[in-house]
């Protein structure tokens, strides 16, 4: 593939690692700031904070919608193509029932989701636990597979950096943490290590010159990530055109994560491996 020249020979491990490291630090600072202000690393959506989410396909303007729902705690109207996504804060059961009735009368084709605050909290704790457990599980598999500290640590570090950068970008572009985006983050934990495993395997288990092996691994690895990127981009475009919010959110998170993954695999992980091999580790 001639588009990108991966010329790792020219740079020392330190030079390679500096950009992703800086980005990781910035991401962690942003996430900490978010924790301080909202209590969560990524701002939770309706699924976790509780409230009502309504999806309608309509040509009505935001002002018209606002006046329709004037008596209710309408907190946000976002739109994607011709779909409108309404978010309401928590309300009493009676008010919620009235709202459902009003929506059914005004927009009979709407999708409605009402999540109670306590239930949201329960889900949120479980989702965070799932993310932590799955990250730990992934790390254990990697350490068992490579059995040496530095290469395994490098893979786990890049996966961690993927997650941190993705979460930070989610905050910047305003993608909330929902059941869908948690699913996407979990997919990232599983899939982002694909190319790291390939890289580590090629560098440590194959014969040959280090730089050739790195370039060879890049040649294969970048195609791997591009195919996943292509599938995800297709999902991103279709879900935007069709206003399917949950698919759009999932694919957006995957896209961000995959780009972060390219950076972390071919800069962070490659740099650590290069340093490790030059120090005399591996073969």
């Amino acid at each position: 593939m001639g588009l990108i020249n991966y010329n790792i020979e020219k740079y020392s491990p330190k030079q390679l690692v500096i950009i992703p490291l800086a980005l990781l630090v910035i991401s962690l600072v942003l996430l900490t700031l978010n924790i301080v202000t909202t209590g969560m690393p990524v701002t939770p959506g309706i699924d976790f904070s509780g409230g009502t989410a309504v999806t309608i396909i309509t040509t009505d303007s935001k002002e018209q919608i606002q006046s329709t729902f004037a008596g209710y705690p309408l907190s946000e109207i976002s739109d994607m193509n011709n779909g409108k996504f309404l978010q309401f804060g928590t309300m009493s059961d009676t008010q919620a029932n009235n709202l459902t009735a009003l929506i059914n009368q005004k927009y009979p084709d709407a999708t409605i989701n009402q999540i109670g605050e306590t239930f949201g909290k329960t889900l949120q704790i479980q989702a965070l636990l799932a993310l932590i457990f799955s990250f730990i599980g992934m790390a254990i598999v990697i350490f068992i597979a490579f059995r040496t500290f530095v290469p395994a640590g490098a893979v786990v570090l890049s996966a961690f950096a993927d997650m941190a950068m993705t979460a930070a970008v989610m905050n910047i572009v305003g993608i909330p943490l929902t059941l869908g985006t948690v699913a996407a983050l979990l997919m990232l934990i599983g899939y982002s290590v694909d190319s790291d495993i390939l890289l580590t395997n090629r560098v440590l288990k194959r014969q040959g010159k280090l730089n050739d092996k790195l370039t060879g691994a890049f040649h294969t690895g970048i195609i791997m990530t591009s195919t996943t990127l292509a599938a995800t981009a297709a999902m991103f475009i279709v879900s935007w055109l069709g206003s399917v919010e949950i698919l759009w959110e999932i694919s957006a998170v995957l896209l961000i994560g995959l780009v972060a993954d390219i950076l972390n695999t071919w800069l962070t992980n490659a740099a650590i491996l290069k340093w490790y091999v030059q120090k005399g580790g591996g073969k």
Binding site: T100, Q114, G180
Partner: protein, 485 residues
Amino acid sequence: MNSKELKHLLLDWRIATLIILVILSIVAIYPHFENGDLVSNLQYGLDLQQGSWIQLEMKGEVVGYTTSQQLEPFLTNLSQQLGTQVTPIDATHLEILKAVPQDQLEAIFEANGGNITSYSPGVSKNTADDVKLILENKINSLGTKDAKVNTLIGFNNVARYIRVELAGVDMKQAQDIVGKQGKFEIRIVTTNNQSEHVLFGNDITSVQTPSQEPPGSDKWGVSFTLSPAGAQAFRNAAISYGATTDPSNHYLMMLLDNKTVYSAPLSTDLANQVQTQPITQLYASTGSGTYGTQQATDLEIHLRAGALPVDVGIAATGGQSAPMGERYKAMALLAGIFALITVGLVIYYRYREPSIVLPMVCVNASEVLILLGFIALIRFQMDLPTIAGLIAVMGTGIDQLVVITDEILHEGKVPSPNLYLKRLARALGIIVTAAATVLIAMFPLAVMDLSTLKGFAIITILGVLVGVIVTRPAYGKIIMEILSK
């Protein structure tokens, strides 16, 4: 490739397995036309078809406790002061079927010489199963098709939420169905198959869980309590219609929503007792063995007339309209097809060789097909996160085909069979490690019951397994045949 080689290739077990699975999947999915619409055996979740779901919170708690007191009086005191049933689950845990805040509960326990060691909102697995059965019965009795009731049981074996999914029903109807009580009635047979009203369900003050009478006899039944007025009405009717003097010709009937759910004569013993005074404590025997237990469980539910053993509140609810469901379904299909095409284009850009690209895309598509077949077979309800998972499987599945191709193509185009096997083994090593990480990453979700994400995790895990066990080995064989041309 001549026909002999093709035959040889098709007979290889790896490829044969792949082909057989693809055929079986198509059979399982069974796409066909019905009244001009393309339909299949695939089931959809409530974001892809019209329907509603309700997540109920069971308002009780399970507490760990210690006490210096005797167990029996301790439990009786607690039960009286809390005004609800308190049941021991095991030696150190109690179930309280009423929402009581932790601090209040602690105070009550302390006053009775006990201590709370843990507090989890929810009910025991047994109670949750009861609630599930009652809800299922209620939904079935209303003739609602395509209903699903799922209990979400936490790691500590405490169930706090129960999810009801009703296809084709809007949110208001769904709430009515779940909240609706059945009409329970007891009648006595008079003459010529006629019967007379005795009492309604509101005269039944409590219903116990199925028990054996005498204990340990394997003869099952359910005891229940009548209000004083109910007991009086029961006595009057039994005497005036002759059920006490001639029980075998004057059966007692129990009806739920006008359907007979139980019918039996009064026992001689009971007949004599009723003759002399009103009896509040009744026992309906249902037979022995598994059959008797099952009947007893059903009867318990009927006696409760759809009332749940614990108060529930709506924790979350949602509804999908038919047009929006159709729209999402179309978009999901479109996204899938579009993804397959773009993946194919990227692969083509890389290899520029139709004889490599075509098998790759076909193997990739067959993987998704096998997964869909499996989804149809287990009647799993596909929802949008699952579809996102399937599309991601497409992207990563092809990744691994790239790993195989590149490992084998490494240095020179035509590897000897020996070298080929070594390289394939190395490629599979990378793939298995990658697959293991995905499996582990999805595992917490698959066991945790995080609402709709459980299905997504299971499908992703299945996708990885199908890939590693079936499609990658088959692709390895195909690509070897093609490259050795």
